[in-house]
């Protein structure tokens, strides 16, 4: 049995002969202080500088670089990787997927009236509210200052509005406590679009469509959901029944024997 290729990458002998060399060459100190700042603890019972220990450091760094520092949500980097994967999956599998963009309404007013610390608390509260409302398979990301994105794989178009509204109402009904005992009522606007099924497309086009809907939600008065619905290409059984009701297509053998006059579509 052949060893998997990854096993041949042996970290141990490279630069870890002495702890100092490791620290200098790999900038471990900097990595460890970044991780400590994010609340990371070195694993107990694992020898410092061992390969297993290094692995946990790398894992910690990967996690750190894919999360938003303020909210702990996926950051823009992780979001972009995830949306690129999802659009390719939908193109191949045809399963519907919804992208929701959420923007906190009148956020500038929160900052201006209550200060930036309060603004941060509001962002954190909305973030945890969004995260609470979704399935484990969904990805919630903070993609801008007060802007969030949610990727919902396997979300049928008929459910889109309900799902988005449920999240929107949850945010609206959960007041945010800020310093000084004050409670702020925060609302979000949602814009959403479904990934194009069965066709290859670009993530930029998908998010552009969602963004246009977010713009519409804002223009129509905020605290609402606007979705770009996919073209209704499905043909129901009832429609088919009527379509073939009075018309009998030529015999299958008759048709298949003479299909040669169509230009062959190159694959």
């Amino acid at each position: 049995m052949q060893e998997p290729a990854i096993a041949s990458i042996d970290l141990a002998p490279v630069a870890l002969a002495g702890p100092d060399a490791a620290s200098d060459g790999l900038r471990l100190d900097q990595a460890l202080s970044l991780l400590a700042q994010a609340g990371w603890q070195p694993p107990p019972h694992v020898a410092r500088h061992s390969q297993a220990w290094l692995q946990t450091v790398i894992d910690g760094l990967c996690d750190l670089s894919s999360r938003d520092a303020l909210t702990g949500l996926a950051n823009r980097r992780q979001f972009e990787a995830a949306i690129a994967r999802e659009i390719d999956r939908v193109a191949r599998v045809g399963e519907p997927a919804l992208l929701l963009l959420a923007d906190i309404d009148h956020f500038k007013k929160v900052n201006d009236t209550h200060g930036h610390a309060a603004g941060d608390v509001v962002i954190q509260a909305v973030a945890s509210c969004l995260q609470d409302c979704v399935r484990p398979m969904d990805l919630v990301a903070r993609v801008g200052g007060e802007e969030f994105a949610i990727i919902l794989p396997n979300c049928p178009p008929a459910f889109g509005q309900t799902v988005a509204e449920r999240i929107r109402l949850k945010v609206a009904h959960r007041p945010v406590a800020i310093v000084g005992g004050q409670q702020l009522h925060v609302t979000v606007s949602f814009g959403g679009a479904f990934a194009p099924q069965w066709v290859r497309s670009l993530t930029a086009l998908w998010s552009e469509r969602a963004d246009q809907q977010l713009y519409r939600a804002k223009a129509e008065g905020r605290n609402r959901t606007c979705l770009d619905m996919p073209p209704q290409t499905s043909v129901s059984a009832e429609e088919k029944g009527l379509l073939f009701g009075n018309f009998t297509p030529p015999e299958a053998s008759e048709a298949s024997g003479h299909t040669g006059d169509a230009p062959i579509t190159t694959p």
Partner: protein, 273 residues
Amino acid sequence: MMASMLATESPPVQTTRIARTVAVTSGKGGVGKTFFSANLAAAISRQGLKVLVLDADLGLANLDVVLNLYPKITLHDVFTGKAELDEAILAAPGGFSVLLAGSGLVEYSRLTPEIRDQLHSIFESVKPRFDVIIIDTGAGISDVVLHAVSMANEVVVVATPEPTSMTDAYATIKVLAAQQGREQLNLVVNQVTRPGDGRAICNQLQQVVERFVQSPSGSPPRLTYLGDIPQDVSVREAVQKRQLVLELHPGSPASQGLVQVATRLLARTPVPH
């Protein structure tokens, strides 16, 4: 004098004409859409009109295969700035012009904003130079196809009597009515084996459309039946020889059907879209 003038290629007439723009689409692939577009163009040019076929099947273009052309310059070169638009407009065997996408340009199966804008600017700049522009779209109901159709004033949906083709044609009509507000669409039925089947399919489609489809204006779109193209061995031969059936077998039933479709299409007053 007259003869010598006719013998030389007529210079492009500077007029203020704006072409009638016709998108040919089908939903299902393999129904003979590209073959139809090319022969329709030949039939229309025989009536003395200047015709351009724009190959908008950007990902899997095969108009060049149908016409047996080996273009050195394609839309791809125009898009990438390697050639001028005029260099990419080629003379096709049937007396019309073609603007070919070039096969295998898979990157264009994604409709990026750049491609969208480039297609539009090319389309606008060729419009004043032709009487009729036929847009041959790809198969399916993708965003590239819908966008290509959206550039045209008129739409011809090509179907065959096969149930899958009829279903896809119906789905296409539904989407075009809902998304583009199309109130009038033309139907051509290809590969018809029994006389009268084409008309029956059109009636059947119209019936379902009236029951289930609404354009944003509230009324269901009207289907105009342009005619059928009979199943014909001469078509198979023309495809294999990579020639137009109108040139190879002008008197064949398929050619007669194509000429009739062209005549009916031209007789219609273009519907502003």
